[in-house]
Every structure is written in C-alpha cells, then in structure tokens.
C-alpha cells in the first residue's frame, strides 16, 4: 500500500511536543521528516525527563514523539550552516516551526523569506497565543494554556479547585490542527498550484476543544459552569453521567434513564425521579443515591445487570488492566522501534487505519545529527575545508 504522504518532505524546526507531534503524524502517513536541531542540546525535549525513566540517556517521551524522523544539526546563526539549511528548505514541501513570534524573522526563515525562495512551500507555525494581543510573548506551555483557557474547571468535583487534564492536550490538539491545515493546503496546492501559510495557536486550539461549553455559555447569559458535587465526568451533563466506586473497583455510567437504572439496580429511591429534566436539575442528589448504592456490590455484579439491558456502562481500567485485556491486544496498538544504538523501544502506533492496514514503522528516533552526512551527500551540501559538520562533538559551541 502506498502511504498517502510518500514523496512529501517536511523540514521541521519545532521542539517539545506540539510541533513534533504534528510531524510525527505526517511521518506516520508517509512523509519524510527532517528535524533541524541546534548543536549540543538539540530539541530540548531530548533532556525533558518524565518520571525517572531514560532511554539511551534521553527522555522516553522524546523517543515516543520523534520516531521515524531524521535529524540534521545546524547552527542557524552560522552563515555556512544556514546556507545548507536553505538548500533543504528550497526543496521542502512543508516547513514548520513552533518558535515564539519573531524568532523565525530574526533567524531569516520566516514565511515571506521562505516563500520567496520556494513559492510552492506550505509553511506551518504554532504559537502559544496567536500573533496578536497581550499574551503573544508568553511561554506557550501546555499547563499554562490549560490554566488560562478555563480548561481546568471541567474535571474533578465541585470543591476540588482547578483540575488540569493529566495529558498534554493543548500541545496535542494544536499539533493535530496544524496537520489538518497543512493537509488541506496540500490538497489545494495539488489543485491550484499554490503554497500557503497555516497557523495555529495552542490557545485557539484548546478553545475550540471547549466549543460545547463555550457555545452554551454564550447562549445562557454566562451562567457559571458547575461540576457536580461528587462523581463528576462532564459539567454540562445530568445524572447518572460519572464514575462510581463499587465494592471492588469503579464503574462508569454514561447517559441513561434514572428510573430504569432504579429498577435494574434494585434501588427504589431512583424511581422518585421520573422527569428527565430532574436528571440534570437534581443531579447531585441522584448521584449521591447512586454512589451509596453502587458501593454495596462488585463491578461485575452491576455490569451483569446493566449490560444485557444495553445501559451505557463500562468497567474502569488502569494501564495494566487495559494492556492485558483482549479488547486492547486485538487492536495491535503497540509497535517496537529501534534506536540508532540498536535499543528496542515499545511505543504506540498511528491511530488511523488505511485500506484495512495498520500503519507501523520500525525506525526509532534519531540521534542528534545522525543524518547530517547522508543529507549533505544527498542534497549536495558541500562543506569547505575546516568547516566541520556540526554533528561532530562540539566543544566550542554553547547550546
């Protein structure tokens, strides 16, 4: 099967997660991704350790995000290096970055300059907060954008204070939206022959993720968004929507009729709420009744009563339970990639299936500068005598 982006070259100046998660998806879909990294440290994500786990001296997350890419080290402030990168940029289909506004202008690789030398280029940029307004120079970091965007007010219970979402959702949505925009412009380029500029910001992306509460907020005159007192799973939804503790675990209940639940669960108190409007208005009360009742028996017991009646419910699983479950293993969601040093790393694969085929790629993340020599040769990027490849050990350059 031909991967859809085969033949597309992406020159990627981005770091951390938002941009690199976008180029990862394009690599999954068949594009060739060349990371441009600065000498010494490279992508700062290489040294961003999570917990205390390292792979080949680098962070595990770096390996997750940058598998199936090439690395080209260049000091963009050094004219000889910049000239070589320009040759790559001139031949690229896509150029992308996630610097703060103004940085690419200073380096000379801003959209106007790149387009002047490569008119068909698609240029992607991710910022934290857009190019305008008082926040434009603030650090575009996931948790900070979660905090400012209102996102911490939906999860957890009413008295919990702010509860951030425990995954870098802002980075991931911004990256995913950038991919959407770049692919749409690739379609346009094929049709109309012209390049284009695609911009997303982390703030706009995570606001769009909140389109449902925001739209309701504008319509209801700005009523505060209130989480339930207990068992909250979505502040806009009525009972039973939530996660409940059972005698041996946890059970999730989505939308459903409260009196029907009362009958199936042998919980007569729930029969006192026949009016569907009350399921939202009196949700705290209903959830309290459910919580007390469900704690009296096992998850399996409740599932055996609810599932045959097609009530929307599920057992709550942790990572160990999930990865051992046939519902997970049948997806073939895990792949093994090899690093440059031959180490095997297990990670997830692209979530999109194409023509009934799962997209995997065995190539791991590159070492810093791993592909300089090959790319120099391929693109004819000559080096003058005494002009060492920056991929060689650096002693004089400061990161």
């Amino acid at each position: 099967m031909k991967r859809p982006l085969e033949g597309i070259t992406v020159v990627d100046f981005s770091q951390f997660l938002s941009g690199p998660s976008a180029s990862l998806r394009m690599a999954d879909l068949g594009a060739r991704v060349i990371k441009i990294e600065r000498p010494g440290t490279g992508d700062i994500c290489r040294s961003l350790y999570v917990s205390d786990v390292r792979v080949d001296g680098e962070s595990t997350v770096f390996h997750a995000i940058n598998r199936n890419k090439e690395s080209y080290v260049a000091d963009l402030k050094n004219p000889a290096d910049a000239a070589r990168v320009w040759k790559l940029v001139e031949k690229a289909d896509i150029v992308m970055h996630n610097f703060r506004p103004g940085v690419m202008q200073r380096l000379g690789f801003d959209y106007a300059s790149v387009r002047a030398r490569n008119p068909r280029v698609l240029y992607g940029a991710i910022t934290g907060y857009g190019r305008e307004g008082p926040w434009k120079d603030k650090p575009g970091q996931d948790l900070l954008v979660q905090a400012l965007s209102g996102l911490t007010t939906y999860s957890g219970n009413a008295d919990d204070g702010p509860v951030p979402m425990g995954v870098a959702v802002v980075d991931i949505f911004a990256g995913a939206h950038l991919v959407q925009g770049l692919l749409a412009c690739l379609v346009r380029r094929e049709q109309a022959g012209r390049g284009g500029l695609v911009e997303v910001s982390m703030l706009e992306s995570i606001l769009e993720f909140q389109f449902e509460p925001l739209t309701l907020f504008w319509q209801d005159g700005g009523q505060p968004i209130v989480r339930t007192k207990t068992n909250n799973a979505h502040p806009l939804l009525g009972a039973p929507y939530g996660v409940y503790t059972t005698s041996d675990g946890h059970l999730a209940l989505a939308m459903g009729s409260i009196p029907q639940l009362g009958e199936l669960l042998d919980c007569p108190k729930l029969l006192e709420f026949p009016d569907p409007a009350s399921w939202f208005q009196q949700r705290d009360e209903i959830k309290a009744i459910l919580a007390e009742h469900l704690a009296t028996n096992t998850t399996a017991h409740w599932l055996s009563r609810l599932e045959p009646a097609d009530i929307w419910c599920a057992e709550v699983l942790n990572y160990r339970q999930l990865v051992a479950h046939e519902g997970f293993t049948c997806l073939d969601m895990v792949q093994t990639v090899s690093t440059a040093r031959g180490r095997q790393i297990r990670t997830t694969r692209c979530p999109i299936r194409l023509d009934e085929t799962i997209l995997k790629s065995p190539r791991g993340a590159p070492e810093i500068g791993q592909h300089n020599a090959a790319i120099d040769a391929e693109f004819g990027l000559d080096r003058a005598p005494g002009d060492p490849s920056p991929s060689e050990p650096q002693t004089s350059l400061t990161p």
Partner: protein, 380 residues
Amino acid sequence: MKPLQGIIVLEFCQYLAGPYAGLRLADLGARVIKIERPKGGDACRQLATKNMFADGDSLVFHTINRNKESYAANLKDPADLEKVRRLIARADIMTHNFRPGVMEKIGLDWDNVRAINPRIIYGEVTGYGRTGPWRDKPGQDLLAQARSGLTTLSGNADSPPTPFGLAIADMICGTHFAQGLLAAYYRRQKTGVGARVEVSLLESIIDLQFELFTTFFQDGGRLPHRARRGNAHAYLGAPYGVYRTRDGWIALAMGELRRLADLIDCPALKAFDEADAFARRDEIMEVIATHLATRTTAEWLAILEPADFWCAEVFDVQRLLAHEGYKALGMDQVVRRPNGTEVRTTRCPIRIDGERLYADRAAPVLGADNPKIEEDLLHA
C-alpha cells in the same frame, strides 16, 4: 479561497466524533451534506446538554453542525436509497459511524460503495475497532475514557478515577478522522485511487496518551502515580502543578527548584535539588503550596513572569472571555438560520494565509437542503 473548495462530503455520522471531522472539512471549505433519516435526523438534534435548544435543535447539535447542509433520506426506502447512491457517485468523501454490520445491511458498505464510486474516500468511526470483545459495545466517550486508562491521570493521588470533563475521546478521534480523510484525498489526487479510512475512539484516546504509554512500557509497567495535591501530570516532577494563592490559583510548569526558591524567597524549598523533583514531588509541592498561599496571584506573577519562570493565573471561562488576551483572537462568531435564529459559537482554530476562517451559516434544519442538493447533484 478556502483550501477544500469543490470537495463534496456526505456525512452519515451522528453525535460528535464523525460530525466533528465533517465540521473541520466544512471549515476548510468542503461542501458537507448530512444524510439524515426523515424522522428526527441525527440523534444529536435531541441530545441536549443543560436542556438547551435553539430553534428545535439542541445547542450541542448547533455547535457541531454549523456550516453544513442536510439531506433527509430514508435508507430503507428504495427510491430514497437510489438517490443516495447517485449522490455517492458524485461525492469525494463519505463518512459513517454505524455499528458494525449496519451499512452491510443497507448495501452501503465499503465494497458496495466502491462499486458505485471507485475513487471515493470511505471513512468509518467505531468505538473499539471492528474486531475483538468490545466491537459491539456502545462507542460512547466516557466509556472509552474509562476503558483506556485515561481516568487514572487527572486529579490527586487519593481522588477516585477522574475523567476529563469534556468529550475528549470523541474530539481527538474526530480530529484524527479528518487527518486520515485529508491524507487519503491527497493520495487520490496523486494516484486516482480511493481509500478506506478507519478510526476508533479507543485507538485515538490511546494515541492521545502515547507519551505516557511509551514511558509505561519502558519503566517495567509501573502505574501512573498522581501527585498528592495540585496534580497536573502523573509523570512530571515538582513544581509542575496548580497551587492556591491568597486570592485564587496559579499554575507552575517546569522550572528549576533552586531558582524558584530564590524568586519566591522560600528558604524551605532550598532543601531540595533537581534530583528530588520527581522522587520527592509530594513533599516539595507541599512546601511550595504553603508558601504560595501567603500572597496574591498578582503578587506572584509580578515576581515570576519578568524572570520568565513558566507560570500562569488560573481562569474560568468567565474571566478568560473578559480578558484582552481572548478578545484579540476573534475566536467567536455568530451563525444564523434563514429564519433569523442566531447562535454564538467558536470558529475554526486554523488560520490559512493569515486569515481567520469564519462562516456564518448555522446548522441546517432537517432536510432543508433536499431541493438544492438534488438540483445541483442529481439533475445536473
């Protein structure tokens, strides 16, 4: 010119995940036609949150389906089905999220559709894939969250499993769906061949956690461990988290502990160094929390921001929308129905060629576009 102008999408999807992909394609210029059953249409029209409706349809439906058209057709009626088959012959992309087997019964499964239109991009959304023990389980957001391990990441160490309080599985899945459809369409431009594109809520929400699963696979399978108080990420060390101040809340992202200790003048924090940031996270966060509670958010921001220490005030929606930082984005728009119904909602988050993409057409009334669609696509 919006990039997808001229592309025709038939959307047989209901609820959120599939229609969210359709919304993005519409945002980017495609003509998106919802194929809906004549009685009731997309079930989302009646699925209201907070019991809120506009002009007979739930506000949620309005949010997800703005800028689309509606074509009412009874797929069990041979005459209607024939018209739909003729629409399929004219379409570039079609999407559905029926449970496995339904499209086969109607005769609009991949093989049949490919026979009608070999170049079509055929997209399907399921809850858990087309095989395995969960294939017939309801593909619903909270249930996918519950099964995926996601509820073990937010909240504090002794909180019960804490779901993300928005439809994250639907949204990330719809996002991936749009990516797959666009990539396949681009391949068709190059090669002339159609494609089958499949996504599922579960695969998408696992991909959302790809960094965490990769760490879990390398660390011997330790379960994610949330911080005791102010948790923001199970795998990140102090100070990463949210803290109460004298008058509100502040978020601190990554930063050196010694530097933070100096900036906020907290001698107790100097007892720790970077090697402790993860291992002694709870103790460190406790020290920081006690200290930050003594002054206002504005006072701390005045110290930390000029030093470029990564921090932010915690806003709710009300305070965010009143802020200049929000207003400068032009992120909302008003959409309208021909009868004058207005809904204020968000716009596409992607800017193309420096332009924000707006479209003031509201979600369609069920079947409102039948005559125009037949005129354009069946009689031409």
